[in-house]
Symmetry: C2
């Protein structure tokens, strides 16, 4: 029996291992400041500021009018699975059978299914530190072990084939990479995906590729790891590029031999993804909606192109230019040795909200900060002005923070 | 390292332990027959045939028009949590602080959260056999152990305080009961809830009460276990009484000391429930929608009052009158000793679809069948005629099935 750690009532050990997000405290404090009449520049939020495009909203309304409110099959509406397959074919010139595409309640659902069919208790999944914090918590949730591997600017903050090979042991079943990545915005090259897939194959494991920010790539074309093998799991989402966060819809591309296992698990743990969301998402691939997505991508690029040099000029070290997502991950060691405290003080004094590195792992977390450009260019400019004032106006303190 | 059981690729052991639903094969075959032009009477489907009420649809459309497509807080929209608290106060005269109400992606999400904060690996959760099959699979998913306890008509197919006490061991952390229950439609009395809560309390564990079918109760008033303690978890859903299946929305009532743990887990494994669904659900408590729900409840009662005596007359033994949900669980041992084969043959010969007992557990499963009255009275009448012909027309075979 597992030790119950100071509780006289049942409380699963996994809860102690799931860290709360520090950004939630920052967000809560920001809301308090706003309620007190202060203006806060939000650069902490991992969600596009854009609402769902009109064509998608209209499709959702149409579905509701038609009474499409019953369950769909566990793996999703067949039309939507086909539409996603068509999207892979048209945009990436990759053939993915619709049978291998599973519609899920958010990318969270996709990750839960993938890990659920792959990882037994105490089995290990490799991932990068810094990385999206929920990933390691999903593994812990299922009693597996997340092995976070420290990566820095020298690896463009990504796992490599060598790192995977080096950390793979007899308990390892999978490696998880994200491209573009949160919090760093860096991509994995096609060559590196191929190399990683090869190592994982040789080791008898599985490569999981998180493509949640697919499409939000600047100055180059978006790609998919699916071009390099049909034996990997690929996780995707309607939240970011398609601006459908609140609908909670994602998808998982599954190697053929896992389809039955994923179906069985999906039937039991979700029943199905949201029906109105699935009908709405059918319109997310329409020419009209795609034009909106591309306009927004261009807007994100403009924001990045402004914010990146502006932060560098303020003394933040951003050694790798992020090519995707909507985040900049800055080394603030010239300005602070406690990025969490820095974020809290910046919020109190200059009402700019950012996310401390500690939310993304342990590796040099106290030296790092994440800036999200999920607010308009004028607001980003205001934020930069305030950060400059914070750094300039309180030189004594800023040494100490 | 866990044994990999005949696979040369990673496949979690939990998959082998999660049985597929036999009813899915029946449903698939029914769709094939329909595609070939046959008319199938569906008495296998665990979903109301009614669409979401117009007031709720209208609220959903309104939310989409307003662009409410961003994330809500992990525990749900505050207005909805308040609305649910108000519903408990008005309908059941029970005060539940909105802080203790967590909005979830379906009741599935609620169950995943509750078990996730309670059960460590190898810890045991007690539940009834027959019961809703996903329950034991959720426990297995998290590496806990579901202990299914055989119950029969003598316990009205429900756990009792004595059974819980008898099967509780040092690894047990919780007991799960459902009222009304699937597949049997029976209720737990208030007195028995109190007795079970007392035993579980004395044992230092937690009682989970599944009230997913709350409101769908016939000939008596609906009640909530929350009247009998604030230390239990209660699982509920907008799917059944509120007819919102495809929206995937439920809720969990949490003892106060678990709120932080549940919040932490919800942030990581879901982020939040669907935003349009949450806004739509606000209207599910409007007088207009409640009037529709009550009309439908009355319609379900009429169907039960027809189907129950009709099946008994055909030779199905239904010793306990089911007071809720929309199921009849029939002992068919006078007609078959293989209920799965019986269901398959009934579908082939007379195109009536029902669910074999094996989908609900192991205890006398081959003698039982579940009939869902989720189709109109005329269709149920047609179904009964066909079953009568099946039983009468093939007496030699029906002995053998």
């Amino acid at each position: 029996m597992t030790e119950r750690r100071h509780h006289d009532y049942p409380l699963a050990g996994r809860i102690d291992d799931i860290a709360p997000f520090h950004v939630m405290d920052i967000l809560a404090r920001a809301r308090d400041l706003e309620a007190a009449g202060r203006d806060v520049v939000h650069m902490e939020i991992g969600e596009p500021d854009f609402s769902t495009p009109p064509a998608v909203i209209a499709a959702g309304i149409d579905a509701l009018r038609k009474g499409y409110t019953h369950y769909t099959p566990a793996l999703g509406l067949w039309e939507l699975r086909r539409a996603i397959a068509d999207y892979y074919a048209r945009r990436f010139a990759v053939q993915v059978p619709a049978e291998r595409i599973v519609v899920t309640p958010g990318a969270s659902g996709a990750l839960l299914l993938a890990l659920g069919v792959l990882a037994d208790r105490d089995q290990q999944v490799l991932m990068a530190d810094p990385g999206y914090p929920c990933n390691r918590h999903f593994v812990r949730f299922l009693e597996g072990r997340a092995r976070s591997i420290a990566v820095g600017s020298e690896q463009r903050y990504q796992l490599t084939a060598d790192l995977i090979d080096k950390h793979w042991d007899e308990t390892t079943v999978a490696a998880l990479v994200a491209t573009p990545a949160n919090p760093t915005g860096t991509l994995v090259t096609a060559g590196e995906i191929q190399a990683m897939a090869q190592v994982v194959r040789r080791r008898g494991g599985v490569l999981l590729v998180d493509e949640i920010y697919q499409g939000l790539v600047y100055g180059q074309d978006s790609f998919t790891a699916l071009a390099h093998g049909d034996d990997m799991f690929v996780i995707n989402s309607f939240s970011k590029y398609f601006c459908m966060t609140g609908w909670r819809l994602g998808w998982l591309v599954v190697p053929e031999r896992y389809i039955d296992a994923v179906n069985r698990l999906a039937q039991n743990i979700f029943l199905a993804a949201s029906t109105p969301a699935q009908y709405a998402a059918l319109a997310a691939f329409s020419p009209e909606a795609l034009a909106v997505h591309e306009q927004r991508r261009e807007e994100f690029r403009r924001r990045r192109d402004y914010l990146l040099p502006a932060l560098r000029q303020l003394g933040f070290h951003i050694p790798v230019t992020p090519d995707g997502a909507f985040y900049l991950y800055a080394d603030a060691s010239a300005l602070t040795d406690d990025s969490h405290r820095f974020a809290l003080q910046l919020l109190e004094r200059e009402t700019v909200a950012i996310t401390p590195g500690i939310d993304f792992g342990a590796h040099r977390a106290a030296q790092h900060l994440r800036f999200a450009y999920t607010t308009s260019l004028p607001r980003l400019q205001l934020g930069v002005e305030r950060i400059a004032r914070f750094l300039a106006g309180t030189p004594a303190d800023s040494q100490g923070v």
